[in-house]
Symmetry: none
Subunit: 100 residues, 4 copies
């Protein structure tokens, strides 16, 4: 068994092998679509990262200490995560004692 739909270099279009997994055919098209969607999202992600950087820069030019700001953001994130995990733990307890 192999899921080699994604096999590439693929010279000739012909069905030179019954194992040929649609290289360059519709599978290739689908793959391309997937990859382009991913790339688009990664592009957006990168832009957000840059926006964040800019905010820090702006804050800094306003006189704030970015190191402190980062620490604050980090602590608040930890709070959030902690609460989330505590809720998960509670769920876990409940299912452990058959209260799920």
């Amino acid at each position: 068994m192999d899921n080699n739909v994604a096999n590439f270099p693929a010279g000739e279009e012909s069905g030179n092998k019954e194992e040929a997994k649609d290289v360059g055919g519709v599978g290739g098209a689908r793959l391309k679509a997937f990859i382009e969607r991913i790339e688009r999202l990664e592009e957006e992600k990168k832009e957000l990262a840059e926006d964040i950087k800019e905010i820090y820069a702006e804050a800094k030019s306003t006189g704030f200490d970015t190191k402190i700001m980062r620490k604050i953001v980090s602590l608040r994130k930890m709070d959030t995560e902690k609460r989330r995990e505590e809720e998960e733990l509670l769920e876990l307890y409940k299912s452990a004692i058959g209260l799920a």
Copy 2:
């Protein structure tokens, strides 16, 4: 309201240091605004990361090998970056010879 790490202990308002950053005053409000903007963007960033994960999952369930896909995306990104750097270099050349 909840965990206001961003609310300051804020001792004396006085300018005990000419670099004093307006602790607890209007500066606190501005800081809070900055931090919330940052948190919002980080939230969006996280969502995008999840979207990307989902696409990989979808592709996988279609039969594609995600490890290969990741490699492809990575390679294409390198191409992009390389091209971008080459263009920057070209700009540099142009400005160097007064064609900016």
Copy 3:
């Protein structure tokens, strides 16, 4: 002898470059020493990881739910880290207002 990835191709011993990092000479010996120290420590680290695994296994065979245990450990670690970060933040504040 076996896998001497750390043994250098090392051509001429000569100082053909004043930046030369002593390739194949005494530098090689020092490098080897560094690498072996690292490998030893990584080995110990690996053993600790295995010990931890064993404890979880033992706990599991005693009837505990390891998933819950892992969550507890994780939460307690977060507490520790949070406290540490809060102290750092305090220091940061102090130095920011010139009380360092």
Copy 4:
């Protein structure tokens, strides 16, 4: 007082479920012991990681390129693992032909 995540909400002590895991009773003590053993080991693990970092730092200050060093360590590890797997395979062969 500190963060006793490990203390249980612990409702009825009774065996309200035959699957009940002794919540809050002697099981709690055992659990606590397990968790503390784990935390101790993880602490040691962390210290080793720091030691390793220091060695890299020291090597760097001696003029070595840590990036290269990391690659070497990684390659040697692969060698080691490969050899180990080959030996396992050999053992397998031996037992297969009754030479175990």
